[in-house]
Symmetry: C2
Subunit: 484 residues, 2 copies
């Protein structure tokens, strides 16, 4: 059996190498690619996705999984001489093998090609705030995504199959239950907060020099433990983190004149993702487990860094004096207390990535509901912008003025990433549990006020191993369900 | 037969897409990749090279080539309903198919992996001017390259097989004959020039502001017709041009404090390469022919732009006033006449890419001789630095002070590109013939003084089609041989 595991790791190594090659092309597409290269880039990506599909569905992998006893009942396999990481390894390969063998190669390459063109169209449409430029692409992507879900199969709804790609081992119904229980509570809570004292956050809207934004952002990245020997920070239309190699995890951001609506917290967020993938030990680093067990768990890392750490009083007790040195004019009459309140102000707003912690999950629930309707066919793409606006009004009490700040704000659907959004909210919920555990082990205020972010990273990294083992995600979910 | 050609084009399209994907990873390696990513990057490249090898050696391609009548006697195939471009297409596919089917896949991937690591080692060794850091890598590459040549086969020497990769349809003996006839003449000519009047080129050694260098370089690129919709200009250790897609041909350069030793002319040189690949019509664009018929022809374009156009009096009559605006301090007491003489001064120097037009070919002949000895085994890698220095002294009368300005100056051998160097000199010789034809058609002085570089590009582009057709390279060679 030991041999079977080793052989399986050998075969899936090529899968990971190909994924990283694909990530390189995608990273290039989002950062440095010349405009007109998009046409062929899509063909290149489709070809590589097709080859990847062949690799992961190879009959030899199927045979090895069978030998190791992996099945729907025992996805981790049944073998005695492996360790707990090997079990997780088999589980993950089995999951990917099962999904991919159900997908026709033609559909995989068609989706890759369509996604590449659709992303480019989304960038243009968003720039011009013109949904009609994006509409035919989204229709195509949606149609192919439905075919994908049909091919994969599902227990209750098509959406189950899609959710599984990003948050495995959980059903749409379970997510619905969690979201349904928090949504009314959130809406009510937001109302209460709105009636509390007024917070002056006018400093958020000032113009912050871009090169100083970058310099300050890079300083925080460095303190967090992110280094350029194994990473980069570049600019893209939609911030993301991507893994191009076991020693190559890159972040992107975008700079706007405001620094604290997305800029800085976006960088911290992406760095949270990056540190997670960079932090696995040698037994996981660079292999199929090194992207984590689920996107929800992944988001728990980024959201914790962004919100629980990055917006905390302790964090700013250390950083605010430095921040004032970078932006003396903008912040000269803003006390640390006012700054802290300003960046934590709860107020319904239109852009998800700029939303405060409290309203954020409502943005997710909105997308979660709309994408289920799109997938089930009860909502057409043509009716999507209006549905978006109405639901925004309903949940948040405000109305987008144009598609750019409405339905066109996120890249996900353009990539065919339906089922991705709920992982952000789950990440918040998992993250709260991690943070609660961390606070028991560490004197957080003391650590943050000293600027010792390395201590936090050290604590998190001791837990990373758990995040790819078979049981963690489920146990976090059980806790969530029990709380409801 | 028409169907066979179309099917062949379909199959080889994947080959081109893969080549472009590989080029993307290589470009990334040379420009933006984090340092520690090199380990896995080599594995990714090796995997993709292996897949590429599988694609180009597919039995279906072999069968189609057979159906089309391609053979050693009729490499262009024997079919009646194709056109002259189709003949060139079949010839090129047949050539690649034949070479690749003779190479074991294992050797292809080993070479790719070794080349990736070797390039990284070369960068370090060059930086520290320490050949010993590079030596074991070069030995490995050399051993694999010999295996490669053995596998491909050759008529007289191993080197024939390697030369064919870069300059097909020509033998080592033919190149030797050409080089042997020009080398004594060149050495004598350089002696004569050295005894003529002194030229003051001290302005070349002044420090030129890097951001202005870049701005002026980009201005010339724009005038030449290079645009960022289909290209980029970035920084790398060794300047190069690479094709990542039919609409994605990127240049790199490096900036030193001096601008006219390599900087500006390097940019013009690379742009010459780039314009060539960007300039093919729809029947060639993006397919297997679009890299040109040979590297010598490719170099004829870059060397013509760099030297015959970029160092001409007409060019500087137009550009010198602008140049003085960019660098008023450095050039205030330099007349255009002095500038022109300075950038064209003939004087033996150590660095190939900084060499003047007259001594340049001696640098090439030096490398050509040494690499033949390395491949035949009559020279060991350990003895290479000394052999390099002795030959430099012999040909140019000067001695490198360290390996950085000697044997470590070029990237080529680190990539396994043995047989590449002669194409630069052949490119000069082909380029001289192109230029001679161009001067008959165009009033070059008038065009250059007006800064109408687009006219030159237009003329060259009318000829590009000829550069991939079966007979051009041979006819240029025949003219060269007759002249000797």
């Amino acid at each position: 059996m030991g041999k079977a595991i080793e052989r399986l790791k050998g075969l899936t190594k090529d899968v990971v190498l190909l994924e990283h090659a694909i990530a390189t092309l995608s990273w290039d597409q989002e950062t440095y690619m010349p405009r007109l290269a998009i046409g062929e880039k899509g063909e290149q990506l489709a070809l590589l996705q097709g080859i990847l599909h062949e690799k992961i569905t190879s009959s030899e992998i199927g045979k090895l999984l069978e030998d190791l006893g992996a099945s729907d009942e025992t996805p981790e396999g049944v073998f005695s001489d492996g360790n707990v990481v090997d079990s997780a390894y088999v589980r993950e390969v089995f999951r990917q093998y099962k999904i991919q063998t159900r997908l026709p190669k033609k559909l995989v390459t068609e989706l890759a090609l369509a996604a590449s063109h659709s992303q480019a169209a989304w960038i243009e449409a968003r720039k011009e705030s013109n949904f009609s430029l994006f509409k035919p692409h989204l229709e195509k992507i949606l149609e192919l995504t439905r075919q994908k879900a049909e091919s994969i199969g599902y227990s209750e709804t098509l959406y189950d199959a899609l959710l599984d790609e990003f948050e495995p081992w959980i059903s749409t119904r379970e997510v619905l239950d969690i979201f349904n229980s928090i949504q009314p509570w959130l809406t009510e809570f937001i109302g209460k907060i709105g009636n509390l004292r007024k917070i002056d956050d006018s400093f958020l809207l000032k113009e912050y020099d871009i090169s100083r934004q970058e310099a300050f952002g890079r300083r925080v990245l460095q303190d967090m433990g992110y280094g350029y020997d194994r990473g980069r920070l570049d600019i893209s239309a939609h911030p993301f983190t991507t893994t191009l190699g076991r020693d190559d995890v890159r972040l992107t951001t975008r700079y706007q004149k405001e620094f604290f609506k997305t800029g800085l917290f976006g960088i911290i967020h992406e760095c949270g993702h990056g540190l997670y993938e960079l932090g696995f030990g040698e037994n996981i680093k660079g292999n199929i487990l090194a992207s984590g067990t689920s996107l929800g768990i992944h988001e728990s890392q980024s959201r914790t860094w962004e919100n629980i750490i990055g917006r905390s009083m302790g964090f700013w007790k250390y950083y605010y004096p430095f921040l004032k040195e970078y932006f003396p004019e903008n912040l000269k009459s803003v006390s640390m207390e006012s700054f802290y309140r300003g960046i934590n102000k709860v107020k319904p707003s239109l852009i998800r990535v700029e939303a405060d912690e409290v309203t954020y999950n409502l943005h997710i629930i909105l997308r979660f509901q709309l994408e289920q309707e799109l997938i089930s066919g009860s909502l057409s793409v043509g009716d999507l912008p209006e549905a978006w606006n109405l639901k925004t009004k309903d949940f948040l009490g405000i109305l987008p003025e144009n598609d750019s700040e409405g339905v066109l704000q996120d890249i996900h659907w353009s990539m065919g990433a339906f089922g991705y959004f709920p992982t952000y909210a789950l990440g918040n919920l998992y993250g709260a549990q991690f943070s609660s555990a961390m606070e028991k082990d560490l004197n957080m205020d003391y650590i943050l006020e000293k600027g010792e972010l390395a201590e936090i990273l050290f604590w998190l990294r001791k837990k990373y191993i758990a995040t790819v083992l078979p049981d963690l995600q489920r146990s976090l979910l059980v806790i969530l369900q029990e709380k409801n």
